[in-house]
């Protein structure tokens, strides 16, 4: 049995009210969306807030809609199941739907939200453990201790961004709409992250994510998500990679984006590798040759560490495999890529 720490629960009706409620507490307070990350973390003693602010009663955080300018607005409280089933999202942003579909299992996708997935805490096999387990090993820098068990003598926590949808949203150039003390602001998702596993976001935890905006897709945009994991369900990624390919009218690749996850604190964009695909023709040799080069470069740029469970050398060997498969799947609309 795992008990939650004692806290009070607030149920605000507006985004502004929620932000006011998190700021008026001197100690720790946390927003809760689906609770599928925060609740296990609190049960493990990783957070002990005095107040938990439930976001499920705030109307503007709900729903998925197409805006007049052709962009999509996904409320932060839209569940992963809603994202997975949404017709337009599947048509125009396949990598996002595929990534959402590969998160965990059905119940957790019914509960877990896209906002919560973006704001997910980083993960490490030395950190996502019970209090008893962590205490027995003398804790670590991310919580209650002073050393890192992954990088010996390291001064920075390298717990891994493990949110499956983050790389997909990165390739789609999503914008995040936040409410903070200073009011409302939009931030490109690429600007959210910082290289610190203790807190991998540039905004504090008191910033409320209201919506995720996806720019209008190019006419011929394709995508896919590839996920390496132990089992066919429930497991967090051992490595994840999202791809977007925009075809011109003659079938040439005009724009490409790639982003990996489950490596270090930040989702890991592979800009140089993706640029090798531009000007090539899916279905022809030049594309296949470029994919091989991209896969090799990805293996150089992605260095899995023993921060999350699983053999990191095996994870490294799978980087080119999953990069290659995901690119071919994106070009032929055959994602997602997973091995079970």
């Amino acid at each position: 049995m795992l008990r939650l720490p004692k806290f009070e629960v607030k149920n605000p009706a507006t985004a502004e009210e929620a932000v006011a409620m998190i700021l008026e507490i001197e100690g720790d307070a946390r927003f809760i969306a689906g609770g599928t990350d925060l609740n296990p973390n609190m049960k493990h003693g990783l957070f002990a807030p005095e107040r938990v602010i439930a976001l499920n009663g705030i109307g503007e955080l709900q729903g998925i809609r197409l805006d007049e300018d052709g962009s999509m607005r996904i409320g932060a409280m839209a569940t992963l199941a809603e994202v997975t089933k949404h017709a337009e999202l599947n048509q125009f942003y396949p990598a996002l739907c595929q990534a959402a579909k590969l998160v965990s299992g059905p119940q957790l996708r019914n509960m877990g939200t896209l906002g919560g997935n973006v704001m997910l805490d980083t993960r490490c096999q030395w950190y996502n453990q019970t209090y008893f387990w962590r205490k027995s090993l003398g804790y670590c820098m991310k919580k209650d201790g002073s050393k890192c068990h992954v990088v010996e003598g390291g001064s920075k926590c390298v717990a891994a961004a493990s949110n499956d949808t983050a790389p997909a949203l990165m390739t789609l150039n999503a914008e995040l709409e936040f409410v903070t003390t200073e009011g409302r602001a939009r931030l490109p998702i690429a600007d959210l992250w910082q290289a610190d596993g203790i807190w991998n976001k540039k905004l504090p935890h008191t910033a409320l994510l209201v919506a995720i905006h996806l720019p209008k897709p190019a006419a011929n945009s394709h995508g896919a998500y590839g996920k390496l994991r132990d089992r066919g369900s429930v497991d967090f990624p051992l490595f994840g990679i999202a791809a977007r390919l925009n075809f011109g009218s003659d079938g040439t690749i005009e724009d490409a984006a790639l982003c990996a996850v489950a490596l270090q604190a930040r989702p890991w964009p592979l800009k140089k590798a993706a640029s090798l695909l531009i000007g090539t023709h899916p279905g022809k040799d030049d594309f296949n040759d470029a994919v091989e080069k991209v896969a090799n470069l990805a293996a150089k740029q992605c260095r899995p560490m023993p921060n999350i469970p699983g053999d990191h050398e095996y994870r490294h060997l799978m980087v080119p495999v999953f990069t290659r498969r995901t690119l071919h799947a994106a070009a032929s609309d055959e994602g997602p890529v997973h091995h079970v």
Binding site: M1, L4, V9, T36, A81, P106, L108, M111, G232
Partner: protein
């Protein structure tokens, strides 16, 4: 303490419990509904699955304070609902799990049945792959799953037979 106003198995209930308790804790330790199992208590196993507005949800990761306006169905609610709808015996899924030998220790069974219940409500004629997919968040450490999938398939067929025979009975009558 907080007084939670919940709707459990069709009945409104007012129950006082510590404000930070999960739905699972309130169900088990305040309402005595121990059918929902406390397995891993952290989202890995699905033994605590209940339906919230018909949707399979892990009660070990749901705060009671966030489900006050929703309809909660636990395993205890299936038989009374089935009888109230004019059925005999237990819910077809419960009967089918029993007849198919789809359990050994039984710990996973309430969660399995509720996940399957939600599937059949949405998709009365699921394929084997759809059954597998909808039970992918419910772990069983005993059976090896085969008989569980068979039980859901059999229940779907039984449901369809029941529906077809009532329809044809109506047709005969008219």
């Amino acid at each position: 303490m907080r007084v939670f106003r919940l709707h459990v198995n069709g009945d409104p209930v007012e129950v006082a419990a510590p404000e930070h308790w999960t739905l699972l804790e309130v169900l088990r330790y305040q309402l005595g509904l121990t059918g929902s199992k406390q397995g891993c208590d952290k989202g890995d196993c699905g033994a605590c699955t209940v339906l919230v507005d018909g949707t399979p949800t892990l009660s070990c990761l749901s705060l009671a304070a966030t489900v006050e306006d929703q309809q909660i169905t636990t395993i205890e609610g299936l038989l009374p609902a089935h009888r109230a709808a004019g059925g005999e015996g237990a819910d077809p899924l419960q009967e089918s799990f029993d007849e198919s030998g789809a359990l050994q220790c039984g710990f996973c069974q309430p969660g399995m049945i509720l996940s399957a219940k939600a599937l059949l409500a949405e998709n009365p004629d699921p394929s084997a792959a759809e059954i597998k997919e909808s039970l992918a968040g419910n772990l069983c450490r005993c059976t090896g799953y085969t008989q569980i999938y068979e039980a859901v398939l059999a229940a779907a067929k039984a449901d369809m037979h029941a529906a077809i025979s009532t329809d044809s009975a109506k047709e005969v009558q008219s």
